[in-house]
Structures are given as C-alpha cells and as structure tokens.
C-alpha cells in the first residue's frame, strides 16, 4: 500500500505495472485517473472557460487522511495492493490530478475499493481547487452535493 502527494506528474503505465509486479495471485487491477477539465458545468460554462487549476492542500493532514482512507479500503476488501497518488500545484486542462489503483484476486473487490477510495477522497482529503477562468478570473470551486451523496453510500 502506498500514498504519495506530489507536485509532479506520474506515469500510469509504470505505476500500474509496479502495483502487480511479482504477485501472480492478482487477477485484476482497477484504476481511476482524474483529469483537469476546461469547463465548469455547475457555473453553466462551456469548454475553454477554465485555463488552469491550482490545487492547494493541507500538507501532513492530506497524507494522514489518504492513508486512513486506503487502510479503510483494505479493511473492507481483500486487496493485494493499492496506490493513491494526488498532485498539488498548478495544472492545465488535460493534465492528470489523481490516480487511484487497487489490485485484487477478484475484480469485484478491485472495482469497489477503487470507487470507494475516490468517493471518500473527494469528501475527506484536504485539497481545494482554485480555477483560473476566462469568465471571472480566479475562483474557488464549490463542493458538490453529489460527492457528499456518493461518499455516504459507503457509510
């Protein structure tokens, strides 16, 4: 199990290969990659609105929260290995923000655990997005009720 909070981009192929390397009991790996979008539907704004995103985080607490979320996932599902990488700093549309990956003997566990980690990460990991928009400059992104609902499904 592994948690990394970093400014730099990551190599998905290398990360996923490392996750299952040497463990031939693994039947499947589920991954989710979050990307910077250039639009903001909640504000009724279309493509091209968001020029960049800056992710602020609470160094120290972020790692603790991500480790707690990963530990919870491993308590709930039989995972062989798992990985959370979350970036901070400035990113442009199309750039990778986050990678979550779970390896298991069984695909159901890999899918469920990966989705669980993303849902809890979205509501518990102390990151905040500041959008640089062409419409009204810098703007803090509002939390989404749908993310709260998704996180509650697991409680």
């Amino acid at each position: 199990m592994s948690v990394r909070v970093q400014r730099d981009d990551f190599d998905i192929g290398a990360e996923l290969a490392a996750l299952s390397d040497g463990d031939t009991g693994i039947g499947g790996v589920c991954s989710f990659t979050g990307l910077v979008r250039d639009l903001h539907p909640q504000a009724g704004e279309g493509p091209g609105t968001v020029r960049a995103l800056t992710l602020e985080h609470y160094s120290g607490m972020t790692e603790r929260q991500l480790e707690a979320i990963e530990a919870e996932a491993r308590a709930r599902w039989p995972l062989s290995s798992s990985l959370i990488i979350h970036r901070y700093g400035r990113m442009e549309p199309g750039e990778r923000i986050v990678l979550v990956a779970c390896a298991s003997a069984h695909r159901e566990a890999a899918f469920e655990a990966c989705r669980f980690i993303m849902d809890w990460l979205k509501t518990k990991a102390p990151f905040w997005k500041l959008e640089d928009t062409s419409s009204d400059g810098a703007r803090w992104v509002d939390a989404r009720h749908s993310d709260d609902a998704a996180a509650r499904r697991w409680e």
């Binding site: 607490m61 923000i97 997005k129």
Partner: protein
Amino acid sequence: MLKLLYFAWLRTKIGIAEERVAVPEGVTDVAGLIDWLRGRGDGYAEALANLDVVKVAVNQEYVPFTHPVAAGDEVALFPPVTGG
C-alpha cells in the same frame, strides 16, 4: 498558544495562511474559538459567517465544533474539500 491554519477561501478572506495566537481563558472548544476569531476583524467575521461551509481539524483530524481546544493544538479551518 494555538497554531491556526486557514485554507482556500478562508485563507484569502482572512488574509493569512497561518498564525499563532494566545486565546482568552474562556475559549475551551472550537465553537468558542470561532466566536472569538470573528471579533478579530472583518476578514475573520466574513470568513466564519456561515459555519455550514466551514470544516475544522484539530491536530490534523476532523472534529465537530464541540471539540475542545488546548494550548499546543494545531487548529485548521477550511471550506469543504474539492480535490480528486
């Protein structure tokens, strides 16, 4: 002394990211701390006007407003998170 941290729009409204404060003796929990902070200036009052959108961590763990605060604690105030 308490170490206070502010993030995202709480930080921009208050104008600083971090400060160390000595709070009055009557301040014993998060709710009391927030009440006291509101009196420290318009930025604080505005940032802490609506507690529905303020989350609190003491020593890097989420806590309710009823949680005690004591000298040496690291108290962070921030909006609901939006990462991922």
